[in-house]
């Protein structure tokens, strides 16, 4: 394990935990301004979390350990990804885990934990949210895997650090048709995975439309705080991965404080820009009907498949 890996393993989770609520706040603020509202300011999610952590912990009647531990599992999965994936430094703290398939599967594990928690509550809302989330993930997972495959097949490795360093060495790689197709597919998938418009509306509590919120309806207090934090971290992690897979500029390749600082700034700027673009895009979008979502995802699956086929045919 190199010094660079250590630096990344320590700074990345800290930055992502601290920064992800700010990112969510920033995105809400962008949306509010574009819609002509004043907005609560970018620190509002942190204030919400602070408030929630101050409330008493509540166990809804009839729920089990699955419900209790699901937020922990979700935070832990995102946390592990935040430690191992190359966000700030090009080396990983735990190289043998920084595999793209492992990372994607870990993030899916967090979703599965929440879906099980939703089913565990035995309410219609919980089951509904879990069922919808699983439908979406059953289509998102394949797209992610295939898109990853398209990216890694040319590098000859699924290790994230290898992919990032290969792109750093050869920036022309990312304007190839393979990368572009994979990028479009990944954007759609990231939107679906993080529960943004047009797949899911993060600010709704209308039972007919909600997906993520329906699963976590029974959470309150510190548990809810963890769920919200995990959701924010997921968003940052996905945007960070998206940014660094295609535009890894600025990532620290040496373990000097300056390089790490540049890495932190680069990540913040890239993720901030992506988040702002996503929020701005959401202003112009309405939520898709639930049964239209699979069409969108099937489209992105096809794009990812085309990317794989292209990577073999253009080789």
């Amino acid at each position: 394990m190199s010094a660079l890996g250590w630096a990344g393993g320590i700074t990345q989770p800290v930055l992502i935990v601290a920064g992800s609520p700010v990112l969510v706040g920033m995105m809400r603020q962008v949306r509010a301004r574009l819609e002509g509202r004043a907005g609560p300011g970018i620190a509002q999610p942190w204030r919400d979390l602070r408030k929630l952590f101050g409330k008493e912990a509540i166990t809804p009647r009839g729920t089990s350990e699955v419900f209790r531990f699901a937020p922990l599992v979700q935070v832990a999965t995102v946390g592990v990804v935040a430690v191992v994936a190359p966000f700030i430094t090009a080396a990983s703290a735990l190289g043998a885990v920084a595999d793209l398939f492992a990372v994607v599967a870990l993030l899916a594990l967090g979703t599965v934990a929440l879906a099980l928690a939703g089913l565990d509550t035995a309410t219609a809302f919980g089951g509904m949210g879990a069922s919808r989330e699983m439908t979406i993930i059953a289509l998102v997972e394949p797209t992610l895997l295939v898109a990853i495959f398209a990216l890694s097949v040319r590098v000859g490795s699924t290790n994230l650090t290898d992919i990032v360093s290969a792109t750093l060495r050869d920036p022309a790689r990312m304007v190839s048709p393979v990368s572009l197709l994979a990028a479009v597919a990944l954007v759609v998938v990231v939107v679906a995975e993080t529960g943004r418009l047009p797949v899911d509306n993060p600010s709704t509590h209308l039972e007919l439309t909600m997906v993520h919120e329906a699963m976590v309806l029974e959470y309150a207090g510190p548990d809810l705080a963890l769920v919200e934090l995990a959701a924010a971290m997921r968003l940052s992690v996905f945007l960070g991965l998206l940014a660094n897979l295609f535009v890894p500029w600025g990532i620290a390749t040496t373990a000097t404080p300056l390089a790490v600082l540049v890495g932190i700034l680069a990540l913040a700027v890239k993720v901030g820009l992506l988040g702002a673009a996503l929020a701005a895009g959401e202003v112009f979008l309405a939520k898709l009907r639930l049964f239209r979502v699979p069409e969108l995802l099937a489209g992105s699956f096809l794009l990812a498949l085309l990317a794989v086929a292209a990577s073999f045919f253009l080789a």
Partner: protein
């Protein structure tokens, strides 16, 4: 006689003695004695397999045992792997069977005598070293398993139908294997595998292809590969649960074994030619279709054991994708990748055996406690059956290819093999010719898409099976009355669970065994070392790729603990004002019921409703059948009295492919009925005319 031979001999002796014990013992002592005896048979099999994997191969020829062909056994590393897997599954299943048989009226003499013989037959199939021996053992395995499938035929009518399907399908498969291997043996000096290997070098390509396809049909139908899977989702659910575990985790593997033995080993020389590339494309295609179709049907299924049966089809499909990729790589002259893909396929066989036996045994435990396998009627088992719930959860995690589960490692390995299939991918060797790259460019995306789709659907399927079946509130009175299973059943599940955990966290421990099995299967075209084993980190040999499932699991655990600690610290600091109740515990509160009073179990999501969105998405593929019956009041047609809504998701391939054949057979039967009027004179007349016709034919043909 070395350790392998001793193990195999012990398995035979103990197995036969156990069957005899089952015959003579009184019914009270029978299940325990047979269970222990069968477990010992399995343990001896594990010993033999492990010794064979360690390099001590064993050969014995007993020409006097079987007339005409004689019996010949040889256990090499490839067979040893399958013998060891079968033995290990048998140990877990027979320990489980002790408690299960007692409570399910399975103590009858017939079942108890056949059970050890079934295990024995499965242990002998991979050890067979001649066509005659293989066919005898194969048939013995089919017959004993058929009898076991029929064990509960008095309780349910479906059992008989399942038995019929199984009997017909397994014998058609047997016929295909027989045809293929006899065709092969006709070109060799005798029917031993050694002679076949030599004959393969001068085999005409057409014959090689015919042998391969015929055996692929036979072995594929045993492995439950689409479209020959129709028996599997019938027979596996209707068999007693420990038998289901054995069939689903051990018997289907032998289909894979057959394909590897014939395709890679016996036909080894022919498979290398460019002319044989379509074999492996066929295998890969069948695997891809099976994987996606199997898991799709599993996702729609509401019967717990049927769901697991379809999941077996999926996993065997993934194994076949691995085999197809391995054959393709080998025929393209890429030994490293071929070894990697074959190693991944074998590891998946191993992993599948572990988690599927656990899942089927846990399903048996549920059946034991509630008497139903209908997920729509289950739920809420976690309070009454905490151990079973935990173990099923472990198995479901393993089956859904998520880390730190069992199947994740092998699917990762499989994807690694496919990734390096690109020539410029920094791989070990370079490809030549344009035809090769076109075949790869078409096959690889299809394979990847199939693996990816099945992985995604598997997650949804097993969340449904675990979440709906075990969590939430009981949906029926049977589920409410559930109780934990007796210790022997829990012990059987525990053994399978230990195997699951070991394979999930330390897959590196079985890699040396896999390497020797791959080496035994392969000709020179298949590299012998798929991966180098550090103790913790899995590092691929010859190509880049590392994964450490153990560090992943540890990191996850540390992450969860750290989060819990931090959250607790933050909460405690924030709540110093006294918001925390007495004792600092968590307050129990009502569920949100929209202010409408307490929620009943009827308001819960069921398995059907959980899968409904997915079913809608794949509407065109699964083609569900919907019936709506509207009853009107007698007084007025405008008043609706009742609306009845029924929806079934039948197996579409089965309906399209098998139904016409069945209809044709039924038509033939009806036509034939007119000929059989019951008059003895007429029958004598038929006989007379037939003899005359035969004589005429002979006279003309001579």
């Amino acid at each position: 006689m070395n350790l392998t031979g001793v193990g195999l001999g012990a398995a035979v002796v103990i197995g036969v003695c156990t069957a005899l014990l089952g015959l003579v013992l009184p019914s009270r002592a029978r299940p325990a004695a047979v269970g222990v005896g069968t477990a010992l048979t399995g343990a001896a099999g594990v010993l033999a397999g492990a010794a064979a994997l360690a390099g001590r191969s064993f050969t014995v020829a007993l020409p006097g045992v079987l007339p005409l062909s004689g019996v010949e056994f040889a256990l090499d590393a490839l067979g040893g792997l399958f013998v060891a897997v079968t033995g290990a599954v048998a140990v877990a299943a027979s320990v489980f069977a002790i408690g299960y048989a007692r409570s399910h009226g399975l103590g009858a003499r017939g079942v108890q005598v056949v059970f050890p013989l079934f295990v024995l037959a499965m242990l002998l199939v991979p050890a067979a070293a001649s066509v005659g021996t293989l066919l005898v053992c194969w048939e013995l395995m089919a017959l004993t398993s058929l009898l076991l499938v029929l064990a509960e035929h008095r309780q349910r009518r479906e059992v008989a139908a399942a038995g019929r399907w199984y009997a017909v399908m397994t014998h058609l498969g047997f016929l295909a294997i027989l045809t293929g291997l006899l065709l092969f043996a006709a070109h060799a000096t005798d029917d031993s595998f050694t002679a076949l290997r030599q004959a393969a070098q001068q085999l005409p390509p057409g014959v090689g292809g015919a042998v391969f396809v015929a055996t692929l049909i036979g072995f594929g139908s045993k492995a439950g590969v689409v479209p020959l899977h129709a028996w599997l989702p019938r027979a596996h659910p209707e068999a007693p649960s420990h038998v289901s575990a054995l069939m689903s985790a051990a018997m289907v593997n032998l289909g894979v074994y057959g394909i590897i033995r014939v395709g890679f080993d016996l036909l080894g020389f022919s498979m290398l030619g460019a002319g044989a590339r379509w074999w492996w494309l066929l295998v890969l295609g069948l695997g891809a279709v099976s994987a996606v179709y199997g898991i799709l049907q599993a996702a729609m299924s509401t019967d717990l054991k049927r769901l697991l049966g379809y999941s077996t089809t999926e996993n065997m499909g993934l194994v076949l994708v691995g085999l197809g990729a391995a054959g393709l790589f080998a025929s393209l002259g890429q030994p490293v990748l071929a070894g990697l893909a074959l190693g991944a396929a074998l590891l998946h066989v191993l992993n599948h055996a572990a988690f599927k036996s656990l899942l089927f045994l846990a399903a048996g435990s549920v059946l034991h406690a509630t008497g139903t396998r209908d997920l729509d009627a289950l739920g809420g088992l976690r309070t009454a059956m905490p151990v079973t719930t935990g173990l099923f959860g472990l198995g479901a995690l393993g089956a859904s290819a998520l880390p730190p589960g069992t199947a994740f490692v092998s699917e990762w390995l499989l994807l690694q093999a496919l990734i390096h299939g690109l020539p410029s991918a920094g791989g070990a060797s370079t490809l030549t010719g344009t035809g090769t790259s076109t075949a790869m460019a078409i096959a690889m995306p299809v394979a990847v898409a199939a693996i990816a789709l099945s992985a995604g659907l598997a997650v949804a399927t097993f969340v449904k099976a675990f979440g709906v079946g075990f969590l939430a509130k009981p949906r029926s009175a049977q589920a409410e009355r559930a109780h934990e299973s007796p210790p022997s059943m829990l012990a059987g599940m525990g053994l399978a669970a230990i195997a699951c955990i070991a394979l999930a966290l330390l897959p590196t421990t079985v890699l040396p065994a896999l390497s020797s099995a791959v080496a035994a299967a392969g000709t020179a075209a298949v590299g012998s070392h798929p991966a180098e084993a550090g103790l913790i980190t899995l590092r691929l040999a010859g190509v880049a790729g590392v994964l450490s499932p153990l560090s992943l699991a540890v990191a996850l655990l540390l992450g969860a603990l750290l989060t819990a600690g931090l959250a607790r610290a933050v909460t405690a600091r924030r709540q110093r004002g006294g918001a925390l109740g007495p004792g600092g515990g968590r307050r129990v509160a009502r569920l949100w019921d929209c202010g409408g009073g307490p929620l009943s179990a009827r308001m819960e999501y069921t398995a059907t409703s959980f899968a409904e969105p997915l079913q809608r998405v794949f509407d065109d593929v699964v083609a569900p059948e919907t019936d709506v019956d509207v009853d009107h009041h007698v007084e007025s047609r405008y008043l609706v009295r009742a609306v009845e809504y029924r929806r079934r998701v039948p197996d579409r391939i089965e309906r399209r492919l098998y139904q016409p054949i069945l209809d044709g057979v039924a038509w033939w039967g009806r036509v034939g009925r007119g000929v059989a009027s019951g008059s003895v004179h007429r029958y004598l007349g038929y006989g007379f005319y037939t003899v005359c016709a035969a004589l005429l034919l002979l006279a003309l043909a001579r």
